[in-house]
Symmetry: C2
Subunit: 472 residues, 2 copies
Amino acid sequence: MSTNGVNGDGGHAWPKDVGILAMDIYFPSTFVDQAELEQHDGVSAGKYTIGLGQTRMGFCSDREDVNSLCLTVVKRLLEKTGTKATDIGRMEVGTETIIDKSKSVKSVLMQLFAESGNTDMEGVDSTNACYGGTAALFNSINWIESSAWDGRLGLAVCADIAVYAAGAARPSGGAGAVAMLVGPHAPLVLDRGVRATHMQHVYDFYKPDMSSEYPVVDAKLSIQCYLSALDTCYRLYKQKAAKRGANGLTLASFDAVLFHSPYCKLVQKSLARLALNDYLALEEGQAKLPELEKFKDTKLEESYFDRDVEKAFMAHSQPMFESKTKPGLKIATNVGNMYTPSLYGGLVSYMTSQAVEELAGRTVALFSYGSGMASSFFSLRVSPDCSAGSPLAKFASCLADVGPRLEARTKVAPEEFVATLSLREKAIDSAPFAPVGSLEQLFPGTFHLVGVDDKHRRQYARTDMAQQNGHA
Amino acid sequence: MSTNGVNGDGGHAWPKDVGILAMDIYFPSTFVDQAELEQHDGVSAGKYTIGLGQTRMGFCSDREDVNSLCLTVVKRLLEKTGTKATDIGRMEVGTETIIDKSKSVKSVLMQLFAESGNTDMEGVDSTNACYGGTAALFNSINWIESSAWDGRLGLAVCADIAVYAAGAARPSGGAGAVAMLVGPHAPLVLDRGVRATHMQHVYDFYKPDMSSEYPVVDAKLSIQCYLSALDTCYRLYKQKAAKRGANGLTLASFDAVLFHSPYCKLVQKSLARLALNDYLALEEGQAKLPELEKFKDTKLEESYFDRDVEKAFMAHSQPMFESKTKPGLKIATNVGNMYTPSLYGGLVSYMTSQAVEELAGRTVALFSYGSGMASSFFSLRVSPDCSAGSPLAKFASCLADVGPRLEARTKVAPEEFVATLSLREKAIDSAPFAPVGSLEQLFPGTFHLVGVDDKHRRQYARTDMAQQNGHA
């Protein structure tokens, strides 16, 4: 028997205030207007804009893929925060846009670190529909709190291109990427010991056709799964919070409530759903609202599609929706469903919806949902310190360009949008392949596909950061 | 501003002896003999058996897929260890056998927990070629050491079906699954603070053809990447160990050295490679072996394919190979490359190669490699306590049936093996689909595909645990 002498426990305390130090979002420079798409599709006016709550939908040409989206957002986050490539100790990518069954997007991102010589970076790709980004975030935080942590920072990245076959689901697409720098002493601190998860085997939305970008969707089942997972996670979160001394927690306990957003209308219904949960949890003797009295015997598992219940609690929760949830929907309504980055686009929306002085000290609840299914309800606390130079002030300044970038995008006619999706259908799996999408429209600093060679190897380049192409 | 009162740090110490409490392996009940395959393929005798070091290759019919492999191994591990479904608090699957771009294998496994009502289980699927199982193991251990841990156990699962297009790579296939129960007070304790990782963007082996189970392989590049990653990880491991007080660490510091095994010959070369690393790291004045003197100026990055260097260090490390590495190759040579479970099949092989009295207190080094690439060198310590009823004794008894199961498999003629791979090629992506593979040959307690409906939804059933089909 020999010994290498490297084992041993030793004293230890988890680092303080582990959470999100900085984050950035990337969305395509082109969008289609949902009202124009209604006209083009010959559906009634308002079907997409009011029925789904969607205003604009971002989309990519064949110049962008999940690799390029991640390259763009990670490189920009490092640049904007002045983070050195050697500062990163772990990186994980959450995605459901699979363009290789074996090679990870994470491995492609290692190109950004090659020059620095930093290759000691655990983490690969995490997949379960729209939940992969949350898996990456949780794993990053666990690493910081584990014995494997060496003082460097974690990077949780998520990106997807959400496209649907022509038909009713097509307006619920989108595309984008989010990167989050994870570490201690963060301005956004994840609450400990309360993460509540619900995982279940279900075929609500999935992608079994490997040669297509499009999913198979059972729309009604998907809504039911989303709402029932929300009920279960919220109940469990309350139980875990109660165990830690926070009894009688309700929506009033949070300043913001953010959701994964397949489309914005579902998010509004989801907040109403939580209000229903709160109402049904009221104990005898607690003040009940007379106008809701008739719903006191509602069974959660029988009310997913109960229009009366939905309408009553939508109305009841409307003021809360305006103050706590709607500020988190700006990117969701203007870019569409980005899948894994959706919830984190909600966090970006919320954190750019008002001045840091307003945001300081706030508590934010988040619900992550990935079909199939995987879901978690968790919460974070915004640092109370928003002084100049504080982590929170830096966090906010990193996101200062998000609003202007949203506005600087190029509107594309529905016909061209449809033609672009056809382009993408042809691009899928092709090798060799030369993309034909315009480079002119891309934002400065955007990585894009140069070509795929006969061995399916992909090459990327980046548009000039200084270029003036109407967006800069 | 409101507060939910659930934040707070509090005192804490990482749990003691976090590692692998129990593990089990599943491999197919059918195999093809590599010597017979040489004859069938019309290649020279010894090309597969000596050149690759492979004896037998396990394979599945269209009755098994990555979901069924994982269902089988997880269910058996829970049964064999008497672990209740409610004891599990996290589960993650590592795989590169992607049959759905969105829905995780993890979500399919939730079926095994449905009856218990336990759905609060973080973790999804991790992907980077053969490295996914290591990502699942590391993430499980980090969770146990994090503030998110609630006292329950983690499950790290990995499974793959490795098949190649007809040609030179076909004999390097295999199939299998490993499940590991992760927690504190484990008989196999992972060393802290020394995990050394090397990640890099490279196209050595990848699967860009989404409609095929077969990879694209640059065989020579793949070997070079494997060996250079090994060099880098080993150097970094030594650095990290030295920082923790273990200076001058060499192969002599370990009782066993296990590797991801694409084929057994590469593993033997890899041990020789580490011996070369040790030799080149010797300092002036340390005893050098005269027969190796002429290699003292060897450059690692120029010697990946240097036959003289390879031959000299293969001979030099031969005794070490026999004692420290070969005991870990039993499953690799008899089942083939299982991809993600390969390294952990090596651990099972080693832990079943001798009596627990021999294994107690030993130190084991492990090298995990996934193309694309992701790689880690890490180590574990076997508990010194092997008394009756000890965690180590239980660990060993859980694996007692592995040897007999290996022997109880059914040999299939090369013609039938080739016909079965054609069957699988047809099965890929088909919906509706009714598998035609025989159920007779499956081991008792094996989950298998019943059918795929027109919406691509997969249904599984399990063979009787008590059935007598020649294997029980």
